[in-house]
């Protein structure tokens, strides 16, 4: 699939994405922007869970901190907007480093649960700190620079930043560093034996994942003009994990596919039914039982039956 369809896809996809706001009505442009930034979020999570093999169960916290960082800078400081867009992701990366240092000694499920616990702590503080974060109401009507405040403007900004970040992550995964973290994922003991500093590589991967998760959060502020604590609640973390799983965890573009599928399905389902959980739960159950490699993972395995799916 990758070899035959790639050139065509490489031309068609950007063209379609660029033309989108001129073809689709306003609401659909907004949905497309949400799809893009959620795809970025899922890809950043996949860096930690799919490529490094760390049970990143609290990823939504970095998304939320990125969003709140940007939102608070825009509403409360007189700093120029570009600074705000840097502060959010950097705050997420810093939090990721701190949480990583605490969690990294633990393995697998313990790592994931401690991360959820720390994430819940951050959530609890944001949820209760009315005077600073707006508490459970969140922050609404965040002023965004004029150039990117219109639906089209915010869409193109989201598209540009997402493309840039996904490209950066693609390069990271393909770099020597990317190979090392995949080696650690597959066999940490052997990686350590050949002289790789396992912990510092894992920590670096976590910080990178946290940073790009924070970027996705900042984009959310641009698109939605509001933030609320639910975006860092643990159930959303698991929902992003589902996106990765649905698309395929050991593929690079799988999480984007999964994120698109879930966001679109959610928008579509919310028009027709109140029982979104029932739908998502049923899909997830079927995927886990029948397609544990995810949708894209199955395609890639079919196309290249002998190689392990790592593209």
């Amino acid at each position: 699939m990758r070899r035959s369809a790639a050139p065509l896809l490489l031309f068609l996809l950007p063209a379609a994405l660029l033309a989108l706001p001129h073809v689709l009505p306003r609401f659909h442009t907004y949905v497309a922007a949400i799809v893009l930034l959620t795809g970025l979020l899922a890809t950043s999570l996949n860096l930690a869970i799919g490529y490094t093999g760390l049970y990143q169960f609290g990823h939504a916290v970095f998304y939320g901190v990125g969003a709140y960082g940007t939102a608070l800078m825009l509403t409360r400081s007189g700093m120029p907007a570009p600074v705000a867009f840097l502060v959010g992701p950097l705050a997420a990366a810093a939090l990721s480093l701190v949480m990583g240092v605490i969690c990294i000694r633990l393995s697998k499920l313990y790592f994931g649960m401690l991360q959820i616990s720390l994430g819940s702590l951050v959530w609890a503080v944001v949820y209760r700190w009315y005077s600073f974060t707006g508490g459970d109401d969140g922050i609404h009507g965040i002023p965004v620079p004029d150039a990117i405040s219109s639906p089209k403007g915010s869409y193109y900004f989201t598209l540009a930043v997402t493309a840039l970040c996904v490209f950066a992550m693609y390069r990271i995964v393909r770099s020597p560093f990317g190979k090392v973290i995949q080696g650690i994922r597959d066999n940490p003991v052997r990686a350590a034996a050949i002289g790789v500093d396992v912990k510092s590589h894992q920590l670096t991967a976590l910080v990178i994942a946290g940073f790009f998760g924070g970027v996705a959060g900042s984009l959310f502020v641009v698109v939605e003009n509001s933030v609320f604590p639910d975006m860092m609640f643990w159930t959303f973390s698991l929902e992003v994990l589902i996106m990765c799983l649905l698309g395929g965890m050991y593929t690079f573009f799988g999480p984007i596919v999964g994120a698109s599928a879930i966001v679109l399905l959610r928008v579509f389902a919310s028009i027709h039914t109140r029982y979104w959980g029932l739908i998502l739960g049923t899909i997830l159950t079927l995927v886990i039982i029948f397609l544990p490699d995810g949708v894209l993972g199955v395609f890639i395995r079919r196309a290249r039956p002998k190689e392990p799916a790592d593209a």
């Binding site: 049970y55 605490i102 000694r105 633990l106 697998k108 499920l109 313990y110 649960m113 401690l114 959820i116 616990s117 720390l118 819940s120 702590l121 609890a124 503080v125 949820y127 209760r128 700190w129 609640f233 643990w234 159930t235 698991l238 994990l241 589902i242 799983l245 109140r274 029982y275 979104w276 959980g277 029932l278 998502l280 739960g281 049923t282 997830l284 159950t285 886990i288 039982i289 544990p292």
Partner: protein, 298 residues
Amino acid sequence: MGFAANLFSTGTLSQILVGLSRTTILFIVSSGMSLILGVLRIPNVAHGSLYMIGAFAAWSVIGFLGGGLFAFLAAMIVAPMIVAAVGFVLERGFFSYLYEREHLMLLLLTFAFMLILGDLVKIVWGPEYRSVTVPDFFRGSAEIFGLPLPWYNLFLLLVGPCIAVFLWLVINRTNLGKIARAAAVDGEMVGAVGIDTGWVFAFTFVLGSFLAGLGGALIAPMVNISIGMDHSLIMETFLIVIIGGLGNMWGALLGSLIFGLTQSLGILVWPQFGIAFPYLAVVAVLVVRPRGLLSSTW
């Protein structure tokens, strides 16, 4: 500081006792989860949903029997049994085929069940709040060291140890319990000596579900029974079994005590951010003892 003055005021003791009665619920629910984690190795996110179903089922049973002490006590038995039946279906229908899967997949599968069960509860009981009144028998308060403690909280304080003793007897004094403990250490070996582990696993899951339902039924008179009451509880339960040591029943007790007490004292010390204290306690425990306080079966 005002904090310290708060801590030593007369309210502290009753706050601790109320916290302890809440600990009872946490212990009952998390002991069920610990059992399932220890023997079946399923990080069951849907455990909270089972607890929620227990609360709703208790409301229905009490409504069906028309209230009163008898209806209440009947609900405390029937509601958990309904939940146990749900657990039986889940185990036989799904988990029994999936034990070999990695923990991440099992966790996500149980998350899927949490989403499905949450909506099913919404369909069966509707999205409104439900509430159960405490039967007259438990009305009023007892005087403990001159401080009032509601009879129902006192009742919970008695139920907790009874459950602990009951579980200890089941696990240590019955054949089934012994086999389950052996399966927790090495399930393959238990199968190799000719014991059908399938039914031991089913029994364990059903017992764990029963405990989740019992926790839900017992908390019914104390809270608004609502959709979403599973979301915060499941997180608390997970953290309790983690700090106690995965699969260790006494760890679940110890973890519940730590969680329940830091929660009630935290709210006393700093009302706004009281809910953050138990999480801080969890972090502190795991930084010092990364695999939990007591020995884990994992």
